[in-house]
């Protein structure tokens, strides 16, 4: 199974993909994950490959190999189309962060859904950021989206709480578990 997480530096993608990897390792899979740190983190586009199976070789997902794309930002969902499997599940957080060319007014923020439709019919726009804001912490969007993602994967709900408990400091556990539960309630078909 290959999961691609995309978004913008600072959205908490790395922590989300760390947690996914931890849960899959605990459920007995071989796991590899790859992303880029450093310069790419200063608000640039970020992509994290997470792969799990009985045995994983390449840390990078092959083109056409991604089963689930979880995008934390709308535009970023369409940047890596070549990775998508036909019929891949695409979950897009409804959140638009204008890139520099849009900020300066030289380009329009594009609607990316039509591009994705050429690849797969399974596209779901979800209000992750709205839920996070409603819960009083816009930065909690990563755990909400992870909650939603967990409903598409095998490990039982409790496995995720084990990971949250072992990876996060006590102070922030309760809020994260609450966000995770809210994410699980998001319905996609």
């Amino acid at each position: 199974m290959n999961v691609l997480m995309t978004g913008v530096g600072g959205q908490g993608i790395i922590l989300a993909s760390d947690m996914l990897s931890e849960v899959m390792m605990r459920s007995g899979c071989d796991v590899k994950k790859s992303e880029i740190h450093g310069m790419a983190q200063r608000g640039g586009s970020v992509m994290s490959h997470v792969r799990f199976a009985e045995r994983v070789d390449s840390p990078l997902i092959p083109f056409g190999g991604c089963d689930i794309l979880l995008s934390f930002e709308e535009l970023e969902a369409a940047r890596y189309l070549k990775y998508l499997k036909k019929d891949a599940t695409v979950i897009i957080n409804q959140y638009r962060l204008a890139p520099p060319a849009v900020v300066s007014g030289s380009r329009k923020y594009p609607d990316v859904v039509p591009f994705l439709r050429e690849r797969t019919p399974n596209i779901h726009l979800v209000p992750g950021t709205a839920i996070a804001e409603e819960m009083g912490n816009a930065r909690g969007v990563n755990i909400i989206l992870l909650g939603l993602l967990s409903t598409l994967l095998d490990p039982p709900e409790s496995a995720w709480y084990d990971a949250i408990n072992s990876m996060l400091k006590e102070k922030i556990r309760a809020a994260n578990i609450e966000g995770f539960k809210r994410g699980r309630q998001i319905k996609i078909q």
Partner: protein, 589 residues
């Protein structure tokens, strides 16, 4: 990250952990009994020393001002009998190349491992040089892990080989090894060596007579290592179909395995010196031979030198990183199936909202300066709309570019300026500034002092007064250092004070001799940052749509419907408000 205990295939319980390649190398150092680690931060190598500092308190860890220092202090530790490691990114090895080329001539006591983290695809570097050449150049063995597990295991093996052959060993990773995570089975600790004072003048005093006598020792050693390489468990044949044989190492091996699972493989973990007999044996068993490697044809040329014909860079790219699809496409002779990619507005990285570098770069640009840049977050000031960096070559080059250019133009002709960060200045700017003063230069040098090594994720350095473990230490006085180098005109300015900054820049440019401005304000990612942290707002009625504020390139300011808007990414540094002539920016939400 948490440990996880599970059952191994032999029915024993093993500790498993998901580790990045860098964390695994740190773990390997711990297991190998390394007791001394030195490094200069550089992507993708930085987390190795950080992990050691955070998780293995028994190991001495230090950030050094540059990689040459890192290599030399580690060599000192080895001479004293301790196991040690010097860690740097690929271009850092260039800085350390002087001691590196002679170190193998000397006697290694405690195991010495040089970690070189290369960056194919230039995710965060100024070039994509292939540091495997250094292993051959300096005549020392090289290990190339292809997973996190191997990163840990090979680190232990590197220390062992180093002590057995009394040679420095290079452990070479690439970004995809350093920053990818994988499951690692942990091992036990080997224990450190107790240091002891010995004297080996013939092996440690490298004057011509001694070094001449040591050279044959190295040649003999590399010959024995070649034999060792043939038998090493790190070099393995995995026979699949005899039709296609692939020689590979590092992450390229994993990509090739993914792309061509049925092929036969010769996987090289100890890739220099090349196991020549093993290569011959493997080549004889397959119909078509490929060498699959990122960047240069390092192994391929050595294979061909054995008189063995193979494919490699005739079909595979020399530039950028590989992936399974590129390899499958090249070997199978099929075009890449990556489909059409829509034309989307790019999202390059940019300096943070409220970054203190922004207003200084803006002030220099307003004065029509030519700005010789350097390596750090401010290099991103190159991007439009700021477009404020005119050169960037390597650490410390900016000051020297500015001096060379200003000298050629002569006094008062062009406004030549260099900008350099504090960490970069300590790394290799001091000698340049000394040269500029000594040779009566006239350029303006701006030291962008944000009290950290920001680009690599905020590491301390000699100017912060804090060590890698957060202990207090001496705090360098930058202004006095600059004066001591011979610069008469020095001023420390607060870049958030836009008006004063512009005045000071004007004055410094008008000054006849060399001048230095220290632009001092902490990086906004530090706790000590000097911004209110609350977003400003635009009074859209007052905003005339002049776009002056947009020229700053702050990601928090967006131009929409002919007006500026400020998002909640704004940290309230106030620079844009100072530039806004109608006074439309202000207040809080």
């Amino acid at each position: 990250m948490a440990f996880f205990i599970s059952e191994s295939s032999q029915g024993e319980y093993v500790m498993k952990k998901i580790l990045s390649g860098n964390e695994a190398i740190a773990r390997g150092a711990f297991e190998a009994g390394v007791s001394f680690i030195s490094a200069y931060p550089g992507t993708p190598s930085t987390e190795i020393l950080q992990t050691v500092a955070n998780e293995y308190p028994a190991i001495h860890a230090e950030w050094t001002p540059n990689e040459k220092v890192a290599l030399e202090v580690a060599a000192g530790a080895s001479y004293a009998g301790a196991r040690c490691m010097a860690v740097m990114k690929h271009v850092g090895v260039n800085v350390a190349a002087d001691p590196l080329m002679t170190l193998p001539y000397t006697l290694i006591r405690g195991g010495f491992v040089l970690v070189s983290a290369d960056d194919p695809e230039l995710f965060s570097s100024q070039n994509e040089q292939d540091n495997r050449h250094y292993a051959r150049f300096a005549k020392m063995p090289m290990l190339e892990p292809s997973t996190s597990q191997e990163a840990k295991d090979f680190m232990v093996e590197a220390v062992r080989i180093s002590e057995e052959f009394e040679t420095p060993v290079m452990l070479r990773t690439t970004t995809r090894i350093s920053h990818s995570m994988g499951v690692v089975e942990l091992g036990g600790e080997n224990g450190c060596r107790t240091p002891s004072l010995e004297r080996h003048p013939a092996e440690w005093v490298m004057l011509p007579a001694n070094a001449r006598a040591r050279h044959p020792v190295i040649e003999e050693r590399i010959r024995s290592l070649k034999v060792y390489s043939d038998a090493s468990p790190l070099n393995v044949m995995e026979m699949g179909s005899p039709k296609l044989g692939i020689i590979s190492s590092g992450v390229a091996y994993q990509y090739a395995k993914e792309a061509l699972p049925h092929a036969s493989f010769l996987k090289l973990g100890l890739s220099y010196p090349l196991p020549e007999d093993l290569v011959r044996k493997f080549a004889a068993q397959v119909d078509e031979l490929w060498v699959v490697e990122e960047l240069d044809p390092f192994m391929e040329e050595q294979v061909k030198a054995l008189g063995i014909d193979c494919h490699g860079k005739d079909r595979l790219p020399l530039c950028g990183e590989l992936n399974p699809d590129i390899i499958r496409g090249a070997v199978m002779g099929i075009a890449l199936q990556d489909g059409d990619q829509p034309d989307l507005p790019p999202r390059p990285p940019s300096m943070c909202p409220g970054c203190p570098h922004r207003s200084m770069l803006w002030a220099l640009k307003r004065n029509k300066c030519f700005i010789a840049g350097d390596i750090g977050c401010y290099t991103l000031g190159f991007l439009p709309p700021l477009s404020a960096i005119d050169t960037c070559l390597c650490m410390g080059a900016g000051i020297n570019h500015a001096h060379g250019m200003a000298t050629v133009f002569g006094p008062g002709k062009e406004k030549i300026v260099a900008v350099i960060g504090d960490s970069t200045f300590y790394h290799s700017g001091i000698t340049g500034l000394l040269n500029l003063a000594y040779n009566k230069g006239a350029a303006l040098i701006v030291i962008l002092d944000n009290s950290t090594t920001a680009m690599t994720g905020s590491q301390d350095h000699p100017g912060t007064g804090v060590t890698v473990r957060g202990e207090r230490t001496v705090n360098l006085d930058l202004e006095n250092l600059v004066r001591a180098l011979g610069i008469g005109w020095v001023r420390t300015v607060d870049p958030y004070d836009v008006k004063q900054t512009r005045k000071d820049v004007k004055e410094a440019l008008a000054f006849e001799g060399p001048s230095v401005i220290i632009s001092k304000a902490p990086c906004v990612l530090l706790k000590s940052r000097n911004v209110p942290g609350r977003a400003l707002t635009v009074d859209t009625d007052a905003c005339t749509g002049c776009k002056v504020c947009i020229g700053l390139g702050c990601p928090a300011i967006e131009f929409r419907d002919e007006k500026a808007h400020i998002s909640d990414m704004c940290v309230g540094c106030g620079v844009c408000a100072d530039l806004c002539a109608p006074g439309a920016i202000g207040g809080e939400k």
